[in-house]
């Protein structure tokens, strides 16, 4: 045994690995994956994660529908995606194997919990023979580990009942994978200590984790461990962050930078609820959160708080956005600052609550009655959510308008290392409330006109209750320009509709111009928005490394669009727009700029893989290739 251990003590260094943990919803796979991620982040790897879980809290055990997975890509260099196929799959039962084997690369390492591959569990998912024995897994390196029984054995001396002990088997798996990838053990052991308050559970998890670690070390099932060296990342202080946490912290920061209290009205909805949870913990920042009776009330409360002088925010997902539409229209008419955060998910209707999609651009852009334009900002990655929240707040406050901030389930739950920004370098987005009269009437009286606009921004003054002398009424009825009094006259209405539109359009000169990443002289430009950023980045890099020219524009501001966008897009022979919808941005740029943009579409509840986009780029490029191939520009799902 001794020399075996010695042989194994020298890990093989690899540059990157994609590990996927898959098991029952009740198996704790999210926790396991998350913990492995944190340990890797603290070790210094660059990483990107993709949690993938069912909508049901406890879907029937052992079924494919109940499989919960967590994929993490760790690397010694800069990466942006959670990886296309995984190189290691940990499958806790036959259902997990069936659901996820397709995501393991050929020749990949498959670690299964042998104890669960019994007839009953196999039949439940329709395996007629045991895949571990029938040769169907011949293309993978299969390692069978009786994780359940080893866990029970390891915890037996603690007096834990076998059924309870079984629940620690995810920690056995975590221990084994921690050994396999040479993760330091201490931080996870410390974490177990602080996370589990019940002594027996804590001890069982610790024992299972250690047992898994030693199992890796002492058995001959694995040749040797691997090491992914720390990535060369810019120096500084890092944390591992999910999009929703970054977004919530961005809102806290926005409040501080605006010197306004934050008010969040929210109704629980997947995948946005974590924003409510996180902000509920930030009360010492003066953040008020109300879990409203419904989505409509949540928006109404945020608007009421905005009227009262707070940074009013409401967070939701697609179905909730639909319900808040009327409140957004009122906010457009009242010209009050307000943020609506939409963490998009698969739809329509309840759709795929836990799966990602980015198909709410249409409703964000057009989903209000009458002419009710508003600014839209889209976050493109987990840590970008922090800055996107501040930017959305800046626009809302400066222009006194509701702003929709789009994120999606992929970046909301996905995580990445984040170089903490220098707090002092964040922008000042503070506002001045109106405290004095702003107009003198013909008879010489000083008055406050709530709709007397700033000539530059066209924003109206914001006088909040408590300000002596500036009492005024606002409402959903059409207002007279200037005075804000009710006014139904035809010319005034048209003037107000045009003014509201001009105010939003004018924001275009207050946002950055669109920038080209890559080759400005390329034939093909890829236009992206939102979470497609990661896959586009990887696909663009690889395509360029192969010697092709590609230009890439990624939009953060979707309404209004950057001033130079049309001009830029027209310089390319071909514009392709990858979207997790059927072409919503694509249609907008076609309509706005008359460019022949083509969508690359995917609506499977999953993000693009970089391979898919690389293929799409290849197809687009082939048109300009000397040896023009027959491949048509393709779409992922076959919808043109």
């Amino acid at each position: 045994m001794t020399d075996t251990v010695e042989r194994k003590s020298a890990p093989e260094t690899i540059s990157r690995v994609v590990v996927r943990f898959a098991g029952d919803s009740g198996d704790g796979m999210q926790l396991t994956g998350d913990r492995f991620t944190t340990a890797s982040a603290m070790f210094g790897n660059d990483l990107s994660t993709l949690p993938d879980f069912p909508a049901e809290i406890r879907a029937p055990a052992g079924t494919v529908n109940g499989v919960s997975s967590f994929q993490v890509h760790i690397s010694d260099h800069d990466i942006t995606t959670p990886g296309d196929a995984s190189s290691v799959l940990v499958a806790m039962n036959p259902a997990a194997l069936m659901a996820d084997i397709g995501r393991l690369e050929q020749g990949g390492l498959l670690i299964v919990n042998r104890d669960s591959f019994v007839e009953r569990d196999l039949l439940k998912v329709g395996y007629e023979s045991n895949p571990l024995d029938d040769g169907s897994l011949a293309n993978y390196r299969v390692v069978e580990v009786p994780m359940t029984s080893l866990t029970i054995e390891a915890t037996a001396s603690l007096g834990v009942k076998p059924r309870t002990a079984e629940r620690s088997k995810n920690f056995f798996a975590l221990g084994m994978i921690s050994w396999l990838f040479s993760r330091p053990r201490e931080s996870t052991l410390d974490w177990i200590k602080s996370r589990f308050t019940d002594e027996l559970v804590r001890n069982a998890n610790t024992a299972a984790f250690n047992a898994g670690f030693h199992f890796g070390e002492t058995t001959e099932l694995f040749d040797h461990p691997y090491q992914v060296e720390p990535a060369h990342m810019p120096p500084g202080e890092y944390t591992n962050i999910t999009g929703n946490t970054a977004l919530a912290w961005g809102l806290v920061a926005a409040g501080q930078l605006a010197k306004l209290p934050v008010f969040l009205g929210s109704y629980p909805i997947t995948p946005a609820s974590d924003i409510l949870h996180e902000l509920s913990k930030s009360k010492n920042f003066g953040v008020r959160t109300v879990q409203a009776e419904d989505e409509i009330a949540a928006a109404g409360m945020a608007l009421g708080a905005a009227f009262a002088g707070h940074l009013g925010v409401t967070a939701t997902s697609g179905p909730g956005l639909a319900l808040k539409s009327e409140t957004l229209s009122l906010a457009v008419s009242l010209e009050l600052p307000m943020l609506l955060i939409d963490i998009q998910r698969g739809g329509p209707s309840t759709g795929l609550p836990t799966k990602t999609e980015a198909a709410d651009l249409n409703i964000a852009m057009f989903g209000r009655h009458a002419e009710a334009p508003l600014p839209i900002v889209a976050a493109y990655g987990p840590s970008h959510c922090f800055h996107a929240a501040i930017e959305a707040a800046r626009i809302a406050l400066k222009y006194r308008t509701p702003v929709i901030l789009l994120s999606d389930g992929y970046i909301a739950n996905g995580s990445e290392p984040w170089l903490l920004p220098d707090v002092d370098s964040l922008p000042d987005i503070s506002v001045n409330f109106q405290t004095e009269f702003n107009h003198v009437t013909a008879d010489g009286t000083d008055v406050y006109w709530p709709y007397l606009r700033d000539p530059e921004t066209l924003a109206r003054p914001w006088a909040i209750p408590g300000t002596p002398g500036l009492m005024h009424r606002v409402g959903g009825l059409e207002k007279q320009d200037g005075t804000g009094d009710i006014d139904y006259t035809p010319a005034n209405h048209e003037k107000m509709v045009l003014l509201r539109a001009a105010k939003i359009a004018g924001i275009a000169s207050d946002i950055p111009l669109a920038e080209i990443v890559g080759d400005a002289d390329a034939d093909v430009c890829i236009l992206g928005w939102g979470s497609t950023w990661a896959a586009i980045d990887a696909a663009v890099q690889r395509t360029r490394r192969r010697g092709h020219k590609i230009a890439w524009i990624h939009l953060v501001h979707l309404s209004p669009l950057p001033l130079n966008l049309g001009e830029l897009l027209r310089t390319f022979k071909k514009v392709i727009v990858p979207e997790l919808n059927l072409g919503q941005l694509c249609r907008i740029v076609r309509a706005e700029y008359l460019v022949d943009a083509q969508v690359v579409s995917k609506v499977q509840g999953l993000p693009f893989t970089s391979i898919e986009l690389e293929d799409a780029l290849g197809a687009a490029l082939s048109v300009f290739d000397e040896n023009k191939s027959e491949i048509e520009p393709k779409t992922i799902n076959g919808v043109a």
Partner: protein, 347 residues
């Protein structure tokens, strides 16, 4: 009004320059006047007062008050006002709503504002009809009511606004009517003094689409025998010389009896401060079945303050949690927040 400090403002200070646009003769005028006359007496300032409304005839109210105001969305006034009141516990927030606005499209927001005990004074103008949309039946219209949308008579059982508010355990519940300014002012004053949600049903005449809806009760000739005035701590009596009273029968039902027959000691004493809302609920149900069935079969109904109990208001509790969090964790520090999930250094 001997205390000069109270009289900082006059009715004029509370009156906006906007032309009032209700139909001539509408009951809303009387309510507006009562509120504008009451305000100077409350010793509060227009700049610290906010009126929030939904949609409907009554919801035009904020435009006529020289305070901060928002004419909101149909049914959503309690939600919007909750945002104002929770953000700014220093403000006096009033909600003006109607039977359609509060009990139909906005029913959910109303009951949740009440159960949370948000510091709001909610005036519900009940005219048992949709006025602004020109005469459809409302959720308080009596059974059989013939309107444009119910040519064969309404088959919807009406809501009893007070019973609904009490069912949500509102901490202050009262009823008044548009023809008695003094009673309105008294009721609004008590509601304003109450911290938490105050809910007031105001029987209001829509002379265009439902004229005389409450005449059988509030008409000058009928008042004495049809209106049961509630006074905390006093036996519930009404009618000429207080000949009639309310008793609780052995079956737990409230009944109207002749005091002379049953003796004054048997008459129920009104206790508005009773924590259990069931007696107030029973009072709210008095005469409700009769008024629900037809506009012409009213029996006496109570007016005044049904319930007035002390319960912490929502905005104060939110504020207390913020203060507690600051004491425990120290005031928010953004840098520390960003480090709170654990960090590592790359050099």
């Amino acid at each position: 009004m001997t205390d000069t400090a109270v009289s900082l403002t006059t009715k004029k200070d509370w009156t906006s320059d906007q032309e009032v646009r209700w139909c001539p003769g509408c009951g809303d005028y009387g309510i507006l006047l009562a509120v504008q006359m009451l305000m100077p007496e409350l010793g509060v300032k227009p700049e610290n007062t906010v009126f929030v409304s939904g949609i409907g005839c009554s919801s035009r109210f904020p435009y006529y008050m020289n305070t901060y105001g928002m004419h909101g969305i149909h049914g959503r006034a309690p939600a919007i006002a909750t945002g104002v009141a929770v953000a700014r516990p220093d403000l006096d927030v009033w909600v003006v709503t109607g039977d359609g606005d509060a009990l139909s499209i906005g029913g959910n927001h109303l009951i949740h504002a009440l159960r949370r005990n948000v510091n709001l004074t909610i005036l519900l103008f009940n005219n048992r009809i949709y006025g602004l949309t020109k005469g459809q039946y409302s959720p308080t219209s009596e059974l059989g009511k013939v309107t444009k949308s119910t040519p064969m008579g309404s088959i919807d059982h009406p809501f009893n606004p007070l019973a609904l508010a009490l069912g949500a355990e509102a901490s202050f519940v009262a009823r008044t009517h548009d023809l008695d300014r003094k009673h309105m002012m008294e009721t609004f004053r008590a509601a304003h003094a109450h911290r938490g949600s105050s809910f007031i049903e105001i029987l209001q005449n829509c002379n265009v689409f439902n004229d005389g809806a409450f005449d059988e009760v509030t008409g000058r000739k009928n008042r004495e025998e049809m209106m049961i005035d509630l006074h905390h701590g006093e036996p519930i009596r009404f009618g000429e010389n207080g000949h009639a009273g309310v008793v609780m029968g052995e079956d737990g039902q409230l009944r109207i009896v002749e005091v002379a027959e049953i003796g004054i000691d048997a008459i129920l004493k009104h206790d508005a401060h009773r924590n259990d809302p069931s007696l107030a609920f029973a009072l709210a149900r008095l005469g409700a079945d009769d008024s629900a069935t037809s506009s012409s079969t009213w029996t006496p109904i109570p007016f005044g303050v049904f319930r007035d109990v002390v319960r912490a208001d929502y905005g104060s509790m939110v504020g207390a949690q913020l203060a507690e969090a600051s004491t425990k964790k120290g005031p928010g520090d953004l840098r520390k927040l960003l480090q709170s999930a654990g960090t590592w250094q790359v050099s």
